[in-house]
Symmetry: C3
Subunit: 209 residues, 3 copies
Amino acid sequence: MNLLYALDLLGTAAFAASGALVGVRRQMDLFGVLVLGLVTAIGGGTLRDLLLGAIPPFSLQDETYLYISIGVALLTFVGHRRIEELAHPLLYLDAVGLATFVVIGTEKAMAFGSGFLGAVTLGVMTATAGGVLRDVLSNQVPLILQREIYASACFAGAALLYLLKLLHWPRPLAVLLAAALVIGLRLLAIRHNWALPRAGQPESSPQQD
Amino acid sequence: MNLLYALDLLGTAAFAASGALVGVRRQMDLFGVLVLGLVTAIGGGTLRDLLLGAIPPFSLQDETYLYISIGVALLTFVGHRRIEELAHPLLYLDAVGLATFVVIGTEKAMAFGSGFLGAVTLGVMTATAGGVLRDVLSNQVPLILQREIYASACFAGAALLYLLKLLHWPRPLAVLLAAALVIGLRLLAIRHNWALPRAGQPESSPQQD
Amino acid sequence: MNLLYALDLLGTAAFAASGALVGVRRQMDLFGVLVLGLVTAIGGGTLRDLLLGAIPPFSLQDETYLYISIGVALLTFVGHRRIEELAHPLLYLDAVGLATFVVIGTEKAMAFGSGFLGAVTLGVMTATAGGVLRDVLSNQVPLILQREIYASACFAGAALLYLLKLLHWPRPLAVLLAAALVIGLRLLAIRHNWALPRAGQPESSPQQD
C-alpha cells in the first residue's frame, strides 16, 4: 500500500514542522529545533516499536524518516517566518498525519498480536507520544493532556479500525473509514473548539503559560 | 504464586488511582487523567521489561493491566471526590503495591541474569519509575527525587530479597520478608515523616509548588 | 581496545559527577542525587542500546557502569563542596567522556547496520541524551537544546568517524581523529563561548533560571 507510505512521509514532515516551530518559539538554538522536530515526528512510532519489540524501530530501519524529519526541521529553522504563515494549511496536513499514524500504529500492534485495548493504546500512542515528548522537552505540561480532543479522534479511529478488521472488512475500506473518522473529528474539533470534560471543574478556561 | 498476581493487580489499581488523582488535581482533561493513571500504574514495570528485553512487556502481554489501569483511572475521573476521601486507606494499598512491584521487579531481573546492583536497581525502578513519569508529565520535579524515603524502602526490600535468594532461602519466605520490610519501612516513614538527608542543607523544608 | 574501555569508565564517572551536582544544587535528597548521577552517566548509551536492540543494554550487561555511576554520585553527595571546587578540571574530563561516548555510540550503531544519519544520530544521542534526561528530571528545559555548541562537537566527531570508516582508514586512527575533533571543538567552544544560532533572534542572551 504505497499510498499509506506516502501519507506517512507527509505526516512525518507535518509533525516535524510543528515540532520545530515549538523549538523556534521557545528560542531554542539550531540543535534544539532539530531535536524537537525529530522527536515530534518519529517519537510516537519509535516508542510503539520499542514496546512491540519491532527492533530496530521503523525510524532506524528506513532512514528516509530521519532525513525528512531533520530536513524539514532545518527548513523550518531557516524559514520559520514563512512556515508560521502556513500555520493554517499545516493543520490540515497535521490531521492527515494524525490519521495515518493511528492507522499504521493500530495495524502494526494487531500484526504483533495485541488485543483490543493494546492495539488502540498503541495506535493512539503512535500519533500522540511524539507531541508529548516535544512538550516534555520544552518543559511544558503536554498540551494533549490538558485541553485537546486530539486524542479522542485517534481513539475513535483506532477502535473503529480494530472492529472493522475483526469483522473482516476489506482492509482498504477499513483503513479509509478509520482515517476519515480521525480527520473528520479532528477538523470538527478545530472548527467548533471542542474539548474533553475536566473533572468537576466549572467551565473556566485555565491559561497555560 | 497466584497471590502475587492478585497483589500485583491490586497494586496496579492503587497506583492508577493515585496517578489519576494527580491528573484531576492538575485540571487535566479526561485523556490526561487516563494517561497519568496508566503511566503511573504500568510505567515502572514496562520500563524494566524494555531494559531486560522481556518484550513485549508484561503490560502488553496480559492486557488485564491495561483494563485495570484505564478502568480505575476512569472511575477516579468520575468519582474523584469520593476517591479523595479514601486518600488515607489508599496509602495502605499503595504500600502493598510498592512491595509487590519491588518483589516482582527484583525477581524478574534475577531471572534474566542481573547481578546485585542491576537487580536492585530494576526492582526499585519497577516500583518508582511510574511515579517519576507521572511527575515529568505533570511538569513537576519528581516528588521521589526530593523528599521521600519511599525509594529507600524499595531499595531495602530489593536488597534483602536478593540476599535471601542468594542464600537459597525458600522463595515464599524470602518474598514475604522482603515485602514486609518494604511495607513496614513505608508505613513507618509515613507515620514519623522520615526523609532522606539533603546535601549540606540546614533542616529547612523547601516548598514544592 | 582496552584504552577505550578505560576512557569510557572515566567518562561515566565525569558524567555521574556532573549529574549528581545538578541534584545537589536542586536540593534533591540522597535518592534524587543518585538517580540524576546514574541517569546522566548511562542514560544516553542505554537509550541507544534500546533503539539498536542491543538488549540487555551495556549498563546491565557490565554492572561496572552501575557501580561507578552510583559510587561517584554518592561521593559527590557527601563531598559536593570539594567537587564544586573541581568544576574546572571536571570540564576536561567531561570533554574526554563526551568524545568517548560519541565514538562508542557511532561505532556500535555502524556495527548494527545503521547508515550515515542513523549512526550520527545515535552517536550524538549516546553523548547527549543522559544530560537531556537529567534536565527533564530536574524540570528544566534541557540546557543542550538552548545554548550550547556541545551537540555540534558530537555531530562533527560522529560524522568524521563515519566517513573515515567508510573510507577504510585504520580504526585506531579514525577513532583518534574523531575523538580529537570532539575534544578540540568542545574546549574551543568553552574558551570562546561559542553558541549555535537561534532562529531570527537578535543577539540577546536570554537567562535561564
